[in-house]
Amino acid sequence: MGYIGEIFVMAMTAIFIQNFVLARFLGLCPYLGVSKKLDSAMGMGMAVIFVMTLASAITFLINKYLLMPNELMYLQTIAFILTIASLVQFVEMVIQKNAPALYKSLGVFLPLITTNCAVLGVAILNTGALRSDGVTAYNFLDSVLNGFFSGVGFTVVLLAMAGLRMRMEMVELPRSMKGMPIALILAGIMALAFYGFMGFKI
């Protein structure tokens, strides 16, 4: 299988088979918090794709050229979270200055992303230290692509969830099921659907 094939497998794995939200339980707070309206879900999704791709690139470089040669692997968690926090802050400043239109649509979501565990999660998974599926550490391009596709996977289910929840607004529900409980049960049914993808061997 050529390199294009490998990238395709990686995309399918990140988006459908090992979906960040529904199979790995990462990024649940924005998934349940920002999925009430379709347009804000879109904004959040785009911001997450952007930050996850960038964070994958930068944490890879920090891990490879700063932590590993100096045997500082135990500082990984601290180094990664600081990188992500400053990256988000930096991106926010750059966008605000150079692309005010983009800032208007993404701006409010950026500060929330620092504590989105999907971003730190993808950075740690890329290093290969905690992968259960036996894949060893990714190289630079793989890490960036994995970050991008994981972000896409997050956005896909976030949008689907927002669409579903907007329809659920019109449904008569028992009072105690309204809001969070029904959102969780919807997510469970969606996870069940995504579970079907796990049987695929590619």
Binding site: F25, L26, L32, L75, T77, G121, R175, I182
Partner: protein
């Protein structure tokens, strides 16, 4: 505001999971068994306790503009300690919690308590708050894990509690079961609250 009130509010009134709906990622991911739930709960409680103490101690000298990065560094240091200690003494638990140990850093409960409580109150109150919230978190994890483990594996804390003829519903310990269990538990709590 008394010590005992701060200590007990985390159990029911301000329960971090069922009422405040914070820290859902570890909640859903690790509650496949009661042992994992307990491990995660105590690890998070330890980090919360230590970070609350430190944040409360340095509240006078932390510049308010960079307080969030400061809190994150404090939390991340204690998470690293938990990660290393658990890896050394409880390798089995460490392996089954996996990614979610380093991810305690971004658990909104811990950062939330640092920002909302420890940065405004003295050390003693912060300790009470941390213990209460931490144990409330642990208790919720154990409740969810109890439902999932009994339904999904027929055991509790590893001991068989269902009759041998019970065929475990595997779905309860898989990903979809996590969402559905928490959804129904929250609905149940809402129902009890309405009755009052």
């Amino acid at each position: 505001m008394t010590f005992s009130k701060e200590l007990t509010k985390g159990f029911i009134k301000d329960n971090p999971i069922f009422i405040l709906v914070l820290g859902l990622c570890p909640t859903l991911a690790v509650t496949t068994s009661v042992v994992n739930g307990l491990g995660m709960g105590f690890a998070a409680t330890f980090v919360l306790l230590c970070s609350n103490i430190i944040v409360s101690m340095i509240k006078g000298i932390t510049p308010s503009k960079i307080r969030i990065p400061v809190y994150i560094v404090v939390i991340a240091s204690f998470v690293t300690i938990v990660d290393m200690v658990m890896g050394a003494y409880l390798p089995g638990l460490h392996k089954s919690l996996g990614l979610f140990i380093p991810l305690i850093v971004v658990n909104c409960i811990i950062l939330g308590r640092a920002e909302a409580f420890a940065s405004k109150n003295n050390v003693l109150m912060s300790i009470a708050d941390a213990i209460g919230m931490g144990l409330g978190f642990t208790l919720s994890l154990v409740v969810i894990a109890t439902v999932r483990e009994i339904l999904g594996a027929g055991t509790w804390l590893g001991f068989r509690v269902t009759p041998l003829t019970y065929d475990p519903m595997l779905i309860a310990i898989l990903a979809p079961g996590a969402f559905i269990t928490l959804g129904f538990l929250m609905a149940l709590i809402n129902m009890v609250k309405e009755k009052k």
